[in-house]
């Protein structure tokens, strides 16, 4: 303001016009001025007009308007909530259950069965290996082998976890493309199909795994297991197999993320959020990556502190290479477990936009005022976005992988600083 005039912005100008044109009624004036009672009290106190009769009238009008508006809003809100669940097609059971991978694609017990199958196969491999060593080298060598396999190196558990994880990934790998294609169909871009081919490519799986086997063989043959010449190859096979399977799982998750990334440009033509059509992807990625991270942590901690001979020219310096899975695979797994959430948020967000557009069309024929329609759409939009936010919100369970890696690092650090501390794993 200067000594000549006050300049007001367009909003304030519109507000002043609304007040000027309002009927000479306190309620109308309060509504036109968008009087918030608390704010108006502050205004009155600033001017010292707390007991002004006209001011009290406006204040009372604003308070009654607010109460009325709240009641109206509550009624409308209930109606919107009802409609919201109708649109979503939810029933009570649907809302209580998680419509992800477990319900729609694979029962949770079957996943556990696969994980247990992996552990059983690991035990079987240990017993078979011990039998082979017994047959070729004698009872003592077999006992030492099994003690190393099940005890000092705990290969029986690490191999079991990664075997189980690989089986789960193998048997559920169709979930990702089926879910994506079922939801987006013809809207998918060429990139997606390219990544899908790579995802299913056996040649690529074998290439990755063989590369991992070569690396594992080099590291562990250099470290040397404290076993006989007959028992050591059996252990090397097990540990190389662990690397190969980890490469397999990581590759699958990596291409899952690549396929999802290609969806960012896809056009959404219908409401995918209504039945959470893409949730299976998130569940798949989260479950597989968490298991893989658990394996990485367990594997690194046990082998890093394992009683290797280290009797080659470079001695214990090769020990650092035992951290390779943690350095290479773990960050990748964390990214792969969190990235689907980003894509899903975008696609579901677009779905909500589609639903709002559809509602707008439907409401054109409805016999209600423009303000009511607008309120309805705003409420619907807000509820949907809130639910989406809550649905894809990061919770403590989503940080299992980083937490597991953190624990692993702490254990390794403790063992590095205090070698005398035997931290049992």
């Amino acid at each position: 303001m200067n000594d000549r005039e006050i300049d007001v912005d367009e909003d304030t100008s519109a507000l002043l016009s609304a007040i000027a044109e309002a009927a000479d009624d306190p309620l109308m004036i309060a509504e036109a001025a968008r009087v918030d009672p608390a704010e108006f009290r502050e205004f009155l106190s600033d001017y010292g007009e707390v007991l002004d009769e006209d001011a009290v009238q406006i204040l009372e009008a604003a308070e009654s308007f607010q109460a009325e508006s709240f009641q109206l809003r509550s009624k409308k809100r209930r109606r919107v909530i009802r409609h919201y669940h109708e649109v979503k097609g939810d029933d009570g059971l649907m809302r209580l259950t998680y419509p992800g991978i477990f319900v729609r694609h694979m029962a949770p017990f079957r996943l556990l069965l696969l994980l247990n199958l992996g552990l059983a196969l690991s035990v079987a491999y240990g017993l078979l290996g011990a039998a082979l060593v017994w047959y070729l080298g004698g009872k003592t060598e077999a006992q030492v082998f099994f003690a190393a396999y099940a005890g000092s190196f705990k290969t029986i558990i690490s191999l079991g976890i990664i075997l189980g994880t690989s089986l789960i990934v193998f048997y559920t790998q169709d979930v990702i493309p089926n879910t994506i294609e079922g939801a987006l169909g013809e809207q998918l871009a060429g990139d997606y199909f390219h990544h899908k081919r790579s995802f299913f490519s056996l040649r690529r799986s074998l290439t990755f795994s063989v590369e991992a086997v070569v690396v594992a063989f080099m590291i562990f043959s250099y470290c040397r297991f404290p076993l006989s010449k007959i028992a050591e190859p059996v252990m090397l096979v097990a540990v190389c197999f662990e690397y190969a399977l980890l490469a397999y799982v990581t590759r699958k998750l990596l291409y899952t993320s690549m396929m999802l990334h290609s969806l960012l440009g896809a056009t959404v033509t219908r409401n995918l959020f209504r039945k959470r059509e893409l949730d299976a992807i998130n569940a798949y990625a989260n479950f597989a990556s968490t298991l893989a991270v658990i394996f990485v942590c367990f594997h690194v901690v046990t082998y890093y502190s394992g009683p290797f001979l280290y009797n080659r020219p470079f001695g214990q310096s090769v020990k650092t290479f035992l951290l390779l899975p943690a350095l290479v695979a773990a960050p990748l797994l964390i990214v792969c477990s969190l990235y689907p959430r980003v894509v899903l948020k975008k696609l579901y967000g677009r779905s909500i936009d589609i639903e709002i557009k559809r509602l707008k069309k439907l409401m054109k024929t409805e016999d209600s005022s423009a303000a009511e329609k607008r309120f309805y759409l705003i409420e619907f939009d807000k509820m949907s976005r809130d639910e989406l936010r809550a649905h894809l919100q990061l919770t403590l369970s989503d940080f299992l992988s980083p937490i597991a890696i953190l624990i692993m690092l702490i254990i390794l650090l403790l063992r590095g600083l205090f070698p005398s501390l035997a931290v049992p794993v």
Partner: protein
């Protein structure tokens, strides 16, 4: 001998910074010492509604103004001997009053500073024997200027005649004079100018609704950080010893 009159606070229009001019009325004055005991004050009451600019293509202003005002002159321990008498101010009213100054007078704002500085910031001198012409002008609707003499004080009220439906804001200069004598040594007093209301007017100078609307509009501006000042303008004066 030059006389000096201190003004406190320094709220005369001539001393107000631009950013401080958020009133709908202002006060200015000229002083003269008619004799050792009598001071004449020529008051200039400026009524200036504040325009609120709106619209880009076709600008249509609102105005914040007052439809009436009360002016009070109070001589502490003195008595009013002469003053402007009330009169109807007709449409397009114009009234001229001439006064030839008897003494050379300085008016100065009271500023709390160290004596050593000997400051004369804002001092205004009115020379002796200079003839001054004060012309009050009011356009728009007819108004009434009423007065009441309380002996030690005088009050004027300017407002629309009773029963007039159309209210118009005050816009123009109102010149009033007052002469007062003091038997006491200290010649001092107070002048208060108070707007009777603070209303919003459309571009045709018609008041928008009642006080409640004005209050709501003031609230809307207050939310934007624009504070309109409806308070009285009060100044105290005293002769320098």
């Amino acid at each position: 001998m030059e006389k000096k009159l201190f003004i406190d606070p320094p709220s005369l229009l001539r001393w107000l910074p631009k950013e401080g001019r958020d009133n709908v009325l202002f006060l200015d004055l000229e002083a003269d010492f008619l004799d050792d005991r009598t001071i004449r004050l020529d008051l200039n009451i400026v009524f200036r509604p504040i325009p609120i600019r709106r619209g880009k293509l076709q600008t249509k202003d609102y105005y914040v103004g007052s439809t009436g005002a009360r002016i009070t002159f109070d001589a502490f321990l003195g008595r009013v001997t002469n003053y402007t008498c009330g009169a109807p101010l007709k449409v397009d009213y114009e009234h001229t009053n001439t006064h030839s100054r008897k003494a050379s007078v300085k008016i100065a704002p009271t500023i709390e500073v160290s004596d050593k500085l000997g400051t004369n910031i804002g001092e205004v001198t009115f020379d002796k024997n200079v003839e001054r012409v004060f012309t009050s002008r009011f356009s728009g609707a007819e108004k009434i200027l009423s007065d009441v003499n309380l002996g030690h004080a005088v009050e004027w009220e300017i407002k629309l005649p009773d029963g007039q439906a159309i209210r118009d804001y005050l816009f123009g200069n109102l010149y009033l004079f007052v002469e007062s004598s003091w038997d006491a040594v200290a010649k001092k007093g107070r002048i208060e100018v108070r707007p009777s209301d603070l209303l919003f007017f459309d571009s045709d100078r018609r008041a928008i609704g009642d006080r409640r609307k004005a209050l709501a509009m003031r609230f809307a501006l207050w939310r934007q950080g624009i504070r309109l000042n409806p308070e009285s303008l009060i100044i105290n004066f005293r002769e320098a010893e």
